[in-house]
Symmetry: C2
Subunit: 346 residues, 2 copies
Amino acid sequence: MKNVKGKQTYNEILGQFDSWRKNFNILRERSKEIQSFGIKNRFDNIVLIGCGTSYYLALSTAFLLTNFTKTKTIAIPASEVFFFPRCYLNKTNLIIAISRSGTTTEVLKAVEESRRINQSKVLAIVCREGSPLCRMADLCLAAVDAEDESVVQTRSFTTMYIMLLAYAAMVGGHQECFTELEKLPDIAESVTKGTKKLVEDLGQSKELQTFVFLGSGHNYGLACAAMLNLKETSLSHTEAYHFMEVRHGPFSILDRSTLVIGFVSDSVKEYEISVLKEAASVGAKVLALAKAPVNEAHYNIAVPHLSEYVRSIAFFPALHLLSFYRAIAKGLDPDAPPNLRRVITF
Amino acid sequence: MKNVKGKQTYNEILGQFDSWRKNFNILRERSKEIQSFGIKNRFDNIVLIGCGTSYYLALSTAFLLTNFTKTKTIAIPASEVFFFPRCYLNKTNLIIAISRSGTTTEVLKAVEESRRINQSKVLAIVCREGSPLCRMADLCLAAVDAEDESVVQTRSFTTMYIMLLAYAAMVGGHQECFTELEKLPDIAESVTKGTKKLVEDLGQSKELQTFVFLGSGHNYGLACAAMLNLKETSLSHTEAYHFMEVRHGPFSILDRSTLVIGFVSDSVKEYEISVLKEAASVGAKVLALAKAPVNEAHYNIAVPHLSEYVRSIAFFPALHLLSFYRAIAKGLDPDAPPNLRRVITF
């Protein structure tokens, strides 16, 4: 079995539900400590940092935190904060640093800058307890059994999203969101089973050559993360845009070989669905990820029983499988993408 | 001559230098009015908005304004501000709205929200005096003879960049940067002439299939704009990343068919050049846009006599020609990209 292509990636994709369950329980146990850190400190200027997939996670969470806590929160790639600390860190009193391994050099250096300039507090989001980033942090949320051994992030990404969403919900007083997270694993497991055939077919499609992911608000960072997962795993031509932004230029590349994948929100879905309709009208195939099936889409994955912030993560195992099947169909090994290392240091 | 493919685009690309000269003179004449608006109002929370190429201009300028004026400035796509106004506009006391035509619906609606929520002041950056956006603004900087008739932005983009850079320099007290803008057109014209053969060859290359643009700081937004220009004009597979971010995933797609185009800064060039070197080591071709030729690059466009913020714009006519030649080589008409309209409204 050792030489089966993508075995590790496959197991980690389907191991996500267990990781979520385990870490949700840990979050619940630590909720007082987490709330006390986030609420008592009265942070009024937050900068989220990460690299690659973790930066896209930061982008998504910056929206959630701003929305849930009314606190000015921005996401910046760790390298840019390290390069231009005075540009981004003035007045920052909380830096939230995301790194699967807790060892990414750019993240550690940006955190050092933040300490030096502002004595900012540090919240670390990692998948490895005791890692250098944890040791630098005032509060460390370290996921257990979630650090993928694979190069490309799957369960580590979704588990860290859940930790950050739980943090935003606890600090912002959105208890209902935290409660919903308990239902997520079972629902997502059933959704994944139900759509396995669809994503296998789409992944194997020879007609589809370009994949464009779209999302508004918290879904933009998630669209970017799904895009990067497909790019890294299957070396496909993938792009991600804010939903309405695709109309301002990128539309030129849409044709019959394009699959447009839209994370449809609840709050502005009319606008988003009209973009999906426009994409279909120029020949693109459309996959909608939404609360209810979208008539205008050729393919749908619908998750009716979760609100939009929790729902988004339920689509990820299916999207990860899409990447997996596409890599296999192209004769690639998902476990070993070219040019990449699991941990990037310098 | 009417049916020559891309005639309009070509003329607008080479007409940039005249547009810059004319509008620089206007900026100089209006400098007291501009300084008084930006300095006397003590804006401490600025949001820049735009769509497509104008959003990428906003991204670049947000860095410049933060850096030059030490004022917290962020760039958000106009649609996202319109969708989630409370998330982005709380405390915003200046909104800088960018739209070539001054009629883009998403921009107008975001400005309306900003007025409603905060009575924010509005600075409009447009290429059409008297347009709806101008009429809503407290200060309107309207470029003359810069609005391209073409669908894809060329001279309008660079001219609006110059207006925004001039604004940042005047308000932030960086007089030397404003002064340098006077030298820009002559230098850029000579750079463009000198590199025409290079970009024609690169544009016609059958080996190159994927184009990856990289930039840090203010260059990130510019890398995105160059990416979108090439995508729209030539329907090529193009991507743009923060310089260090390309190591966290996108590196997987780099191979002998990739051209990596790096906007090299002055301040962190050692890091950037090491990324270019890494790209070359996995087989990609590298074009460096820098102050001095980069040894590690296969191709160079060097502009020694301008500082980094002004220099970046000197590369654009050459990059626009790259898009133009690639479209022609693919049998496409640069004047008529598929699926797109010049002004996007809804």
